[in-house]
Symmetry: C2
Subunit: 462 residues, 2 copies
């Protein structure tokens, strides 16, 4: 791998590609290219590509824009076919001269048969199995969720945030302005990638709309595709044009895209990860009827409102379920309805909570179950909450009725100490196959999208 380096696109950014790889323990050979240095960060530096002693699998370009066409010709000469241009400052600036330079880059790439990633982004951002990363401090754990991003920042956030939420990544690729390889090229790759089960995307425009449409539609039922489409508003589309030179497209076109392909909608990295968490860990539900087991009347109202707003249903339980619940739940200070406010006593006694779970889960009116917990708020101690969570982990592992079960927090976290506890228990829960959402709105949204995907899937592929 060769990294021509200097202070382009962002000073020190060439170095940061290098430190990202070194920090992650990349096992391949790295050749820093710089005519003015003999050594960079402990590695022998080379004056140019030709002087590198072996074939280069990938060249990362981080030099001033005006030198890029020349470098691409050099890539052609040494037979380095895969080139990632980090350098920015081409047509996205709106400047005529820089647009012309962009055309030269495209021409040089074509004439030399190069596969181009970028310009203006992070390329192959994060591949834990290959120990490749543009960012330091990322998780070494490999997973089955892929991400194609037209934003380098969102790619970085996904690489950090997803693993911290228990959603592990196969590959993150940041495609930028797409002079060469486009979103659809990477989507084609992920379609047949045996390491990727769930595909997430951040798109500002779609250079090849009809192809994207066909590919996502054909993936329906094989690999879920979760898409955050940025720039759908007036101001957002203007920003997208300045950012990646993309035509953001109209709301109507994209609504049709989502409707006809069964792609899952998201509106942030957080929502991409939340939905991916559901698709990774849960079995498909039969419908969108949610049961909520929680504490607190105000919380129950808030969850019920969120549920309704996100398009989930919250039916009454069967009479037998109420009879079973009435044996465990004290009628004072509780709500024997759906959402259930079981009261503090039940969350303080894991056996009581187990009885509640066993009463609710089999109810034929219910397709999915959300347990709403809070840490650091009265009247249940953190230890007691952890015991409850341990029980839910065990239950989720056996999952006797095959119904999706998730945990969500109902209250803003009051302290860093509690935050630390949550960080710990969250990972434990997720590893048991129990998605853990840090607020109930996020949980309802993810479950609703998950259920809706499977509803449409059943209709289109009965």
């Amino acid at each position: 791998m060769g990294i021509p380096r200097d202070g382009s696109g962002g000073p020190g950014q060439g170095t940061s590609f290098l430190t990202g790889l070194q920090d992650f323990g990349f096992p391949g050979h790295i050749y820093p290219i710089n005519p003015n240095a003999t050594e960079i960060l402990g590695l022998k530096a080379y004056p140019n590509l030709k002087s590198v002693p072996e074939h280069l699998d990938l060249v990362i370009v981080s030099i001033p824009a005006k030198h890029v066409p020349g470098l691409l010709r050099e890539c052609g000469e040494v037979g380095a076919r895969n080139v990632h241009i980090f350098t920015a400052g081409f047509d996205e600036t709106g400047d005529q001269q820089r647009k012309q330079l962009g055309e030269e880059v495209k021409k040089a790439a074509k004439e030399n048969g190069l596969l181009l990633m970028g310009p203006y982004y992070m390329g192959i951002g994060y591949v834990p199995r290959a120990r490749m990363s543009c960012w330091r401090g990322v998780s070494p754990i490999s997973g089955r969720v892929g991400f194609i991003s037209q934003s380098g920042g969102h790619a970085g956030e996904m690489s950090a945030f997803a693993p911290s939420s228990g959603v592990y990544i196969s590959k993150v690729v940041s495609i930028g302005n797409s002079y060469g390889l486009k979103a659809t090229d990477f989507l084609e790759y992920f379609t047949s990638d045996p390491e990727t089960d769930v595909i997430t995307m951040y798109l500002e425009g779609a250079a090849d709309g009809p192809k994207l449409f066909r590919m996502v539609r054909d993936l329906n039922g094989r690999k879920p595709v979760i898409v955050w489409k940025g720039g759908l508003s007036e101001f957002g589309s203007r920003a997208a044009a300045s950012h990646t030179g993309s035509l953001a497209g109209s709301k109507e076109v994209w609504n049709a895209f989502f409707q006809q392909t069964n792609a899952v909608r998201a509106g942030s990295v957080e929502e991409l990860v939340d939905a991916a968490s559901a698709f990774t860990y849960l079995t498909p539900p039969k419908g969108n009827r949610l049961a909520v087991i929680g504490i607190g009347g105000g919380s129950s109202v808030a969850i019920a409102d969120a549920c309704a707003r996100e398009g989930l249903r919250m039916p009454h339980f069967n009479p037998e379920t109420y009879s079973a619940l009435a044996k465990v739940i004290n009628p004072a200070g509780t709500i024997l309805s759906n959402p259930l406010d079981v009261g503090g006593a039940v969350f303080r006694q894991v056996d009581s909570l187990a009885q509640v779970v066993k009463a609710v889960v089999p109810d034929p009116n219910i397709d999915m179950i959300l347990v709403a917990m809070n840490f650091g708020f009265l009247p249940v101690s953190t230890d007691e909450q952890e015991q409850v969570l341990d029980y839910l982990c065990t239950y989720a592992k056996s999952n006797p009725y095959g119904k999706p079960l998730v945990v969500a927090l109902t209250r803003g976290v009051p302290s860093l100490k509690i935050e630390q506890t949550i960080d710990r228990v969250k990972i434990k829960a997720i590893q048991a196959g129990l998605p853990f959402y840090t607020n109930t709105v996020r949980a309802c949204r993810a479950l609703s999208r998950f259920a809706e995907y499977h509803r449409v899937l059943k209709e289109t592929r009965p």
Copy 2:
């Protein structure tokens, strides 16, 4: 203050009222009442109210529901007029016998001339000046935001979350089922309370709708009233009926309420606090035209979309502003538009950022300014971000153009270490009068509601 105690409404809850007061250093006299104890938590216990040697200002009731009417008659006998019933298990259960018991409670209160808070909630939840709190570990800092809550859980969350977000509280009151004192009674109190400038409310129903309407409308322009109305959805209104026995009312009625009173809408404790932060720390804007100074193309698109969705406008800058910006901002890898992606270099050099701020703030097309930062993401170090924040604090203090300036985070936080940094810098920023929102959607929503309040105010009270 007398606290009749036993294992009602929630076991140990009587004790938790006591520990809350003790923990906060309540300076008044506390008399635990319990016929079966001589000492509770280091305090001498009394068998009944009559045996207490002085007049009682407040009685907190946490005994089984069936004993409550008798206790209220005892309150009357000893001349204890202010009574807070924590005990639950009356008409909210839907049970006929318990409804009857609720009627007895109302009758006993009336016959004995009592001012009743509750039943089924926390009463005077948190008053930092008086060192009263139902919850342990609350902030001792007194502020100017009051909260009236029909949910004890939301009252507890507000008491913990608001101060941790730099929004300090005058009084939190949790009103529950309102057999006696109602939301409007407390609103009347806050209206003339010299310690309260901003009033926040969580309501499920309104027992006295027309009075609430008149009071909030009359407060318009004097004290902003921020209202989270719970139970507006089908499932939410059912939960509200089970929770506080409230009739939640129709969406249309509440839409009219908000429109005609200029009450500010919120949808969670977080949104109540976010709006209160704007009303506490910012000067009224002339309009809703926002400038954004940030890093990253993807972030810019996301902020612009959020801005549009929340009803803010994002105009182009004046030509003079662009000329001034072009002197500081490198054209490659940046976006010279609104939202501004100034690039990493500018955030790395506080002098450059100062030039950007000084170019943008005076622009006549701009009413409010949001600086979008990220901590823990490349390419700017946390130290560099802190220097930028220090500069913004200084600028916010002088605020030469009187335009609201806020900070918001653009990226999910990747680690607890970064979270700790954010917790520290957040409080520093807010103390300088610079509201700090932990995501851009929250910032846009709060600013939009703040601007809208002042727009309507100008129209109605020119």
